[in-house]
Symmetry: C2
Subunit: 333 residues, 2 copies
């Protein structure tokens, strides 16, 4: 295993120390239990947004804490759910009296632990609404999931929900706009290579030198099909066809197209994928009104990409465009 780390057991703590050292203007990092919180939390009268999940998907979620997005993120160990304790303390830390939304990716551990944290917070009089993200069309049920996995839509829900909270919407309204993102978003990913969890020290799965996996999960969970490498145009068709047909996205729809790196795939390839996706959607009369291209929900150093499409309306566009100031997404501020 070749990685820029010290001891595998120190990876998450040292990463958090690095985040704390790099972004004191944006966030504070709390240790034991670990969570990253907006520097000015709690913001009085504003709905708080908390998300979290296993580490190894950076910048998600810690890179999305700041003005106009998350109020707190709870990082677990690599590919391991954070504990209810982390979520509960983060919820208390961001409660400004208007309630707290939990954005939960649909993995069994995350769902169970966020439920316990919500119960604990409610027992102390904090209003909590939970939003489940389950946008991955690749498979029904998976290694750590009943139902569909939560992937790229999480990033979009955090941005859009964060903007809704920032403009003063109520707990129910913020939760509902996050649910609207999940309802109108579909995703699918693929891997060119595996990745290595530091504590495991060996690749999560094996792919042959000319093999790829279509429909991969962000922890390397099996997808739909293992096949030979193909041109980008064909790979985009394999990802975008089930996405478009599932919602379905229709001619005349305006979408946000999110082309995401799994971590090890560089921008030069993402732009080629985006170019193919644009042609694919043009052919179906679907217009890309907004886009996001880069590594935002990753799987350590895995090479590959995912595509997320979100059907937009005027309110979602306005919330997407609203100012945001986080380590990983920033505009207007």
């Amino acid at each position: 295993m070749k990685k820029l780390i010290n001891r595998p057991q120190d990876v998450v703590r040292e990463e958090l120390e690095g985040i704390a050292a790099a972004h004191p203007d944006l966030v504070r990092v709390h240790f034991d239990p670990n969570y990253i919180v907006r520097v000015d939390a709690p913001v009085q009268g504003k709905v708080g947004l908390v998300s979290g999940g296993g580490s190894g998907h950076e910048p998600m979620h810690g890179g999305f804490v700041g003005i106009g997005m998350l109020d707190a993120a709870c990082p677990g160990e690599v590919f391991t759910s954070p504990t209810p304790d982390q979520m509960h303390e983060a919820t208390r830390a961001v409660n400004g009296g208007a309630g707290v939304v939990h954005i939960v990716k649909n993995y069994t551990g995350d769902v169970m632990n966020f439920e316990m944290a919500a119960e604990l917070a409610r027992s102390e009089g904090i209003d909590v609404e939970s939003v489940l993200i389950d946008d991955d069309v690749a498979v029904q049920d998976s290694l750590y999931t009943a139902g569909r996995r939560g992937v790229g839509a999480t990033v979009l829900a955090e941005k859009i929900g964060g903007a809704a909270a920032e403009e003063g919407r109520s707990l129910k309204e913020v939760a509902d706009v996050c649910r609207k993102v999940d309802d109108n978003a579909r995703s699918m990913g693929m891997a060119l290579t595996s990745c290595t969890v530091p504590a495991a020290g060996k690749p999560t799965f094996e792919l042959g030198p000319d093999e790829i996996e279509i429909g991969i999960g962000i922890h390397g969970e099996p997808g739909r099909e293992r096949r030979k490498i193909a041109p980008a145009k064909e790979i985009v068709e394999m990802l975008a066809t089930p996405i478009v047909e599932d919602l379905p996205f229709k001619s005349g729809d305006a979408v946000l197209a999110f082309v995401n790196s799994m971590g090890g795939t560089p921008l030069i390839e993402l732009y080629i994928v985006f170019n193919e996706l644009k042609k694919f959607l043009d052919g179906r009369g679907i217009r890309i009104a907004r886009n996001l291209i880069g590594p935002y929900i990753t799987s350590l150093e895995m090479q590959g990409c995912s595509i997320t499409l979100l059907r937009l309306d005027d309110d979602l566009i306005r919330l997407w465009d609203a100012p945001v100031k986080t380590a990983a997404l920033r505009w207007g501020l």
Copy 2:
């Protein structure tokens, strides 16, 4: 070779099509000759900034075209200098009457071609100042370079020079502030893995399963030493010690610390590197006043990182903080 591409010979053109499709609000892409130009170029009365170099280092340079940074970028084929023709036409396209600065990384082909382009432009009455970037302390002379290679300081010179141009400084002043960045910046990189140029189809060099290369160039040029993988703390010492001792950076200095991914190394590792760098600099009384952490000057999918330190003064800090709106760097707008 497993990459998200179509035919290797189409990689750069299709990437540029993707950039054009993704960022019409920021840039226009001109084909034959290829260059990416700020959407509102030429900006009358403003000094224009042009850079360029081989593709494969994305987001550099095309991702840095926009308000407050570059006016144009000339992408060559992967790891291949752009032609004088590209640079000449880009220079004409951004000339708003106040002259044009060429930011040139110190590689023989780039230097020669930018010189020819500058001569062509001058013969048409366009004032051109060339700034050479040569911040890599790893080796003196290299595979494509006489003297030191230009690496991470390029990104910083483009940001800071772009801000100086945006606030209306003269041609000489903009060129001088870019030179000041180069004079006060030092860099060094390392690789965990090689990378594969699409047209070559095989890795540029070979590294054993537990080998790393210290002092690597951004095209895989040999560095100082090939050795066994070590903890991040030791790797940071191997990179930061020659950087600090070269300028030298001294106790009491304020610096911008830029921790860069070579393309395939994810953020989780970069923050661990940043954490070690912070401790290393703390130990020498050097204060990190600003930072940049992410993949900004890459070598395709190479795993590894580079560190760049820039000694700051009040003017450089103000120019760094100034608003910027490009595909890859954005704040305040």
